[in-house]
Each structure stands twice: as C-alpha cells, then as structure tokens.
Symmetry: D2
Subunit: 286 residues, 4 copies
Amino acid sequence: MKKNTAVLLIHCPDKKGIIRSVTDFIFENEGNIIYLDQHTDAASDHFFMRIKWDLENFLISPDKIGEYFDTLIAKKFQMEWTLHFSDQKKRMAIFVTKLSHCLYDILYRYQSKEWNIEIPFIVSNHEKLKPIAEQFSIPFYHFPMTKENKAEQEAKQLALLKKENIDLIVFARYMQIVTDDFISHYPNKIINIHHSFLPAFVGSKPYHAAHQRGVKIIGATSHYVTADLDAGPIIEQGVAYVSHREKVRDFIRKGKDIEKIVLSKGIAKDLNHKILVYNNRTVVFD
Amino acid sequence: MKKNTAVLLIHCPDKKGIIRSVTDFIFENEGNIIYLDQHTDAASDHFFMRIKWDLENFLISPDKIGEYFDTLIAKKFQMEWTLHFSDQKKRMAIFVTKLSHCLYDILYRYQSKEWNIEIPFIVSNHEKLKPIAEQFSIPFYHFPMTKENKAEQEAKQLALLKKENIDLIVFARYMQIVTDDFISHYPNKIINIHHSFLPAFVGSKPYHAAHQRGVKIIGATSHYVTADLDAGPIIEQGVAYVSHREKVRDFIRKGKDIEKIVLSKGIAKDLNHKILVYNNRTVVFD
Amino acid sequence: MKKNTAVLLIHCPDKKGIIRSVTDFIFENEGNIIYLDQHTDAASDHFFMRIKWDLENFLISPDKIGEYFDTLIAKKFQMEWTLHFSDQKKRMAIFVTKLSHCLYDILYRYQSKEWNIEIPFIVSNHEKLKPIAEQFSIPFYHFPMTKENKAEQEAKQLALLKKENIDLIVFARYMQIVTDDFISHYPNKIINIHHSFLPAFVGSKPYHAAHQRGVKIIGATSHYVTADLDAGPIIEQGVAYVSHREKVRDFIRKGKDIEKIVLSKGIAKDLNHKILVYNNRTVVFD
Amino acid sequence: MKKNTAVLLIHCPDKKGIIRSVTDFIFENEGNIIYLDQHTDAASDHFFMRIKWDLENFLISPDKIGEYFDTLIAKKFQMEWTLHFSDQKKRMAIFVTKLSHCLYDILYRYQSKEWNIEIPFIVSNHEKLKPIAEQFSIPFYHFPMTKENKAEQEAKQLALLKKENIDLIVFARYMQIVTDDFISHYPNKIINIHHSFLPAFVGSKPYHAAHQRGVKIIGATSHYVTADLDAGPIIEQGVAYVSHREKVRDFIRKGKDIEKIVLSKGIAKDLNHKILVYNNRTVVFD
C-alpha cells in the first residue's frame, strides 16, 4: 500500500524566515520532507511554496494539521494555504459539446487509473457524445442551451455539481460561454482548453484566424476560467509546426492532438496540487 | 567548381497543364530537374511552383531563359515569375539599433561563408554597434532619427540602398517604424524579426506583455515588412518554454536565442529563393 | 459526396523526363493534378514521386489505370509503383499486450471516423485489454505465447490476417519479438512504436536505460518492422524534455503521451499513402 | 551596483532535517534567501540542494562563510559542498579546431557581457580560427597534435591552464580525444558539445550516421568530459526535425544552430552554479 502524504500549498507576502518556520514545523513533528519548492515573485514581493511530506510518523493527526499549521505558522505570515492528502480522491466533472478528442483522452486516463479521481458525470449542451459516456459507463446529463433558458440551466448544473461534491470542472471543448455567476462558484476550479496559443486568437474559430494570418506554428492553452473570456491564468501551452500546405481542416486535425495533451497535462498538474494562482498568473511547480 | 543552376519561382491561377508545360519546357531543352515542388491553395485556387534545374547542357543561354519562358509559357498561364541563378550573389543590407545578437549571428554566417552574399554596409540609428561593424570590416552608416528628420534620413537611406544595388534588407532588431513610402521601394524585400510569437504581442515590449499575461511559451517571428506594423507575411517562427521562475529579463535573454535563429533561418529561405508571397501569406518550399 | 481521387507512389532510378512523362500521362487523359511532390536521393541517384489527381473526368477507368500506367510509363523507367484510390478502405489489425494508451488513441480515431479504415480485430498475447476491445465492439483474439508454441501461434495469426484481408498491422506496444517469417509476409506493412528515440536505447526497458544515462530528452519512434530488431525504416519521431526530478515512472508516464501521438501520426501517413521505403529509409511526403 | 549574493551547492546522503539546518544557518545570521531548490534522488537516497542568499546584512563575512558552514552544518550531514559569490568572475578557456559556429556564439556572449567571465585565451590544434581570436582580441595558442607529441602538447596546455587560473574549459567542437590524465586535472570542469542526441551516435561523424539510419530528428548534447568518450554527465540537449529531403550537409548546417545554443546554455548553467554531478548524472537547477 502506498504511504499517505500531505501537500501544503502556501502563498503570502515575502518575509525572512518563512521556509525556516515551515520546515521547522514539519521537522519538529517528525515529518520527512519529500519535496520542497518555493518561488518569490520579485515584482510583487510575494512568496509561493509547495511542500510535501510523509505522514507515517507525523505527530499531528491529519485532521488536526490544518488547525495547528494555521495557528502556529500561517497567521504569523498572513499565509493563504491549502492542505491536501494523497489518499483523497478529487471528484471531477466534464463538460463537453460535440468534439470527442479531449473527452476520450480524459476517460482513458480515468479508466486506466492514470489519475486517482472520480468522474461522477459528464455534462453536455448536445446529445452527440452520449454514446461515449455510455461506453465508459458514466452518467450523462444533457442541458440544451438557449439564450432564454441559460440562467435556469446553469442553476440546474450548479445544483448537480453541488450535490455531487465536485472539486474540479473540466471544459473539454465545451463550446458555451458560461456566466460570471457560474464561474464565481468555482474560482480557479474550472479548467478550459482553448484551441490557440493564447493570447493570440482569442474567441471562436482560432484555427481559421491562424490560417488566415499565415502562422507557421499553431498551439493550444489550458487555463483556469475567469470572467474574462480566454483571459484566465494559463496552466500549460503546447505548439506544433504547420506549413502553407495545410488547410484549416489540417490545422484542426493537428490541433486536436495538441489540445488533448495540453488539457490532460493541465488537469494532472491540478490533481497533483502543483498550481498556485496569484494576480491572474500561475505558479506551476515541477 | 559548383555547377550553375537556375530556379524559377512561379505563381498563377490554377489550371490544368501547368506542371506539364513547365517540365516540358525544361526537358525539351535538355535541362535536368533537380527540384520540383508545387502547391495549390484550395481556397483561392491559386498555383505555386518552385523548380530548379541544372544549366550544364541547357540549350537556352541563361540571359535568354527569362524571355523564352515568358513568351512560351508564362503569358499563357498569366504567371508571375522570378528567375534566379546560383552563381548570382545577393547584396544584403542590415539595419540595427542597439541589440547585437542578431547582427553577430548574421555576420558570423557571412564571414564563415555559410551564405553566398555580399553585405556592403550596416545602417543604424545609433552608434552603439559601430565597433562590431568595424570588427567585421563592414562600412557602418549612422542615421540618427528624430520625428523631424525622418523623411530626410529615409531619403538618404534609400539613396544609399539604390547606389549599392541592395536586393534584400534585414531589420536585425531595428527599433524604428519606417514609413510606408520606404517600404514601398522594397516590397517583400525587407525581412524583420519580431520578438514575439505573432500575432500575439504586436508592437513594442512584447516580452513584458508576455510576462504580464503569464504565458508558458514565448516566441519570435521573421516576416516581410509591410505597411501594417508586425502584420506582414510570416516566414518562420520559433518558440521556447518558460516558467513562473523566469523574470522579464530571463524572457529577453532566452528570447534572443530564438530571435537570432528564426531571423537567420528566414533570411536563408529568401536567399535560396524558396519563398513566394500571396495574399499576405508565404509559401515556403523545403 | 467526396470525389474519388487516385494516388500513385513511384520510385525508380533517376533519369531525365520522369516528371514530364507522368504529368503528361495524367494531363493527356484529362486528369487534374491535386498534389505532386518528388524527391531525388543524390547519394543513390534514385527518384521518388507522389502524385494525386482527381478521377472525375479521367478518361481511363480506375480498374485500368494500373495496367495502362505500367505499360506506357512504368516499364520505360523501371519504376516500382503502387496505385491507391481514396474510396478504398484499408483494413488494419492491432496487436497489443498490456498497455492501453496507444490502443485507446487508435480506437478513438477509428470510432470518431478520423481515419477511413476498418479494424476487423485486435490480437493480444494477454487478456488484460479484452475489456477495451469489447467496449469498442471489436473482436479480440487471445494468442498466449510461449517459446514452445510461438511458431504455431504465429501460423494461426497469419491465417487470421489472411482470412480478414488485412492491409496494415499495427504493433501498439506489442511486447513480443515476432519471427522473420512472420514479418516476411508483411514487408513494410507492420508499424511498430518503440518507446525511445531510435537508434538510442534499442531493445527492452528504454526508459530505464534513458534514466540511467541521465538524458535530458526522451522520445518515441514509429517505424516499419523488419527482421532487425528496432532497426526498420523510421516513419516519425517525437521527443519531450525531462529533468533530474523525474523518476523512471515519470519518464514512462510522459513517454506514453509521445508514443501514442507518434504512432498515430505514423499510421496516418501510411493510410494516406505518403510513405515510400528505400534502402531502409523512408521518404515521407507532406 | 548589483548586490553581492552567495550560492551554496550541496549534496549528501538524505536525512531528516537538512533543509531546516541550512535555512536556520542563513536565517539566524540575517541572510535573506533568494532561491532554494532541492532534490532527493529516490533510487540512491541522495540529497541535492542549491540555496542563494543576499549577503547585504549577513553576519558572517564572505571569507568565513565556508569555514563556519563546514564546521556547523556540513560535517554533521557528510555534505559535499561548494560556495560561490556573484562578484567572482570565472576564467574560461576555449578549445577549438576548425569549425567556428560555437566559438562565435561564445565570443558574442562574452563581448556583449551576457556572461560575467574572463576568456584569457583560445587553444587550437589548427590555425584556421586564429583570425577570429584576433578579431575579438583574445590570445590564441596553437598546439598542433600528432600521435607522437600528444603527451608533450597536453603538458604545455595544462601548464598554460594552470598559469592562467582557468576555472572552466569549453571544448567548442575541439576534434581531439584528450587523455584521461588531462581530464583528471579538471573533473566536471570541461564542457564538450557533441553533435548528436546522446547516447545515439557516439564518436565521429554522427550526422553521417544519423542520415544513414534515416532518423527524423537530429540533436546535440552538452556534457562534462569524462574518461569515457561521449559518456560524461549530460547537461543540456536540443533537437530539430529533419526530413528525407535533407542531405548530410543539411544535417550539418541545421545541427550547427542546435550545437551552439545547446553548448552556450550548458555553459550558462555552469557559470550560474546550477549544476551538481552525482553518479555520472547531473542535477540542473532552474
């Protein structure tokens, strides 16, 4: 059996003694540090840290670690922090429309247990991908969207997400603009894949725009969704070379391979608690 | 001694029989085709071709090939074409401001004879890089620029370019916006390096903007200069991964390595007559 | 409905007039050339060509094109050639062992009709991946392998392949060394994915070897299978950066993403009749 | 003026409390940590660390830091460590033969002050690149090599290196196999560029071998020189895609662009004290 480990993700104003205090906290309580990485953003003088340790002989019980850490360390340094345990399974919901490549890539990782998650359901504004949900035995909810019913449908989606205790939402080529209200319930908890190298080609039909512009490289970007369209914190980007020979449909086909990998890599970073968000940018630890 | 070869770059509306006619023209006159590549742009129904052949036993003398080809083939298909010979040396002028990385990269290729060119002079709006020009024994012309003297200085530059029979101008991080009039004298004959992955981060300070946006990949683009700033036909693009650890100055430093390679690759494509421009896009043959 | 097109893949000793003759053949019979690319290998003086044309008004009926081309053109130039039609579906068999990532990637492309193929069955020496075959409703044949039964099992596999008129075999992480005899029935018709950047790390456990050597880039290679282990003609290669932080299991995980894309790209090149093999090397047209 | 900073590079058997002790040492003496990264190699249970701090208010004077650290911390954990100060300039010697691309790339970074180094001289077994040394005003020493005079010439080279207090030697396409004795004087202090993606194509003429094998990607590797040819610890690797169209001379030309960047990146990592070597592998911190 795999040993249980804890991960602390911390950020706060930079100050002398932070690393010392945190490592002391773990060391004095018999924890063995497996991973420590930190980053100071020079411009904002802000400090970021990820620390992971073995819970085997740790003197503080897992359910008390948060309280102790907050009292003894975090308050002193005005830290914002989250605590995660390796034996917890994240619950992830997938939103799709009609394109299947990202969905398949996620489901294969789920089914082959590459990721330690639960996928309680798939949501779509179309019925086209329902057979894939069935093929992988995952409940499929169809929420058709019109201008008129959007608020109502989103309310139903939110109720479903809440009922199922969803930790992370993935827009796997979900071709809908969601409302700010929807997003506000899941800050930095919705990952989207945009089919361009952001900030180039924001909005719809980026491959058409890229072809029109005559670029020699196309790309894809996974990012957290914020109220600003395609302007949220970037997690991961990927690119591929293209030539004049390639038509828009070749860009689309080639782009799919980038999109699915870039999305899955972004999800994996989140699932492994490697991402901190600050000032609309990400710190993505190794 | 290397054999003399000819390259024809052709484009015209697509029509049956073009390839047949061109290959016939060469074959019937005892030319041996060394390279043939063609491309049809499906959207515009436009045809592009690059063909290279050995002139050794070719029955038409080099100075007559253009005339014959135009009369016998090109007119029939409404072709636009250019003819180039491997024993011709292009004459290239370099424009710089204060940054030296692209300049060194070009001069090393020139001095080590990687490129078969003449560089009759270097132009700059500053004096900072004059010592490098001297180090490589190339005349250096200083044209300081102000709002007031711009027209006058450009006129002098144009006179110099004309006098020296310049075929190709390279903006090797020349931090000046040139006038449309200047550009109009050298259509698709000025290559610029822009220090971003176009069309992202047009204009000045792209690395600052990229850092601000929190991108995970930076890039550079070599393109022909047109009247629209940073919007000319793209020749070559390159990228590099970056992380949250990297400051703006790291982007700049890392970007330099991409810029110089992307610019030199773009120049090499032009020098080898591999580029056709149509509708603000390039066809770049292998 | 999509128009039917023909593709000719040709290679022969280089000689004046080949392109002219082939383009004449198509032009004189009212074919419109959609694609033409050629390559001459300077070292061996050997010529390669891929030409694609629209059959709509072509004067020779599809079933006669091969005969006419052979008689009128191919014999004269000692050409080896194959002729393909866009309305033909290739029949592809997949061989797997226990790893599923390549299999899923192929099946998703099949199921989403990215590829115009039939997959009549999946073969494995283990039963582990049977549920995936069932999930995608594809017959699954289990051929357990021992030293003793290898000849016998391969004979059965060959009978099955023949019965099902298989055109292309894909080893999607099939962890068996097949006999020369087996391979001899499908020359340049078996595509394998090797989980290293060949020729580095031939044989088993390449990720372990790569980790041991301390490389900073790992890769994968799709190639045709020949009697020499991991030494067949390379179709496609891909790479990813790695760091000292990554364990062997990280190489393996990251490598899977490269492997599946590199294998699928290699298969797509073959399905689109873009590959010629000569002297254990490939010519892969765009 | 830039502030003086210190960097400690440490490795030792892994044990609880290392990070705590080191950060305590700096914190208690009023140092502000600017960078901390660590790595534990799970297989060998070995710990690696790079820590950088501001010396401005540090209570221990720079010339005493080493002694104090060794006594108070290093001995307790059996650490091997090196200490570096940002106001120290490394002295670097360059060895070349006939190819100039890496040499130019290094000299441009030196001349433009991208690197904070001294280059007291260039060594070569040929005279071809002497003019470049003169162009950059750097002393050039010619040591022609034969089987007979090798020992004698290396002795002279070692004397020169010693006299000039050389910290780092760069083999910038130095086409000589140096003796084990020579190497033993500069363990992990000689950086070589090999013109292939190691461990593929060890030895001479790797581009010829790569072309012969029909690879689709070529590469270059910078590594520390050890007694085993092309088998030393890898620092940095880079690659580029190639196609069947490219001849050996195209591989060579394209490879040069990779080589010079990969070598210069490797040198920069060393100059910035970011590399630890253990078990013939490198830990390269960000």
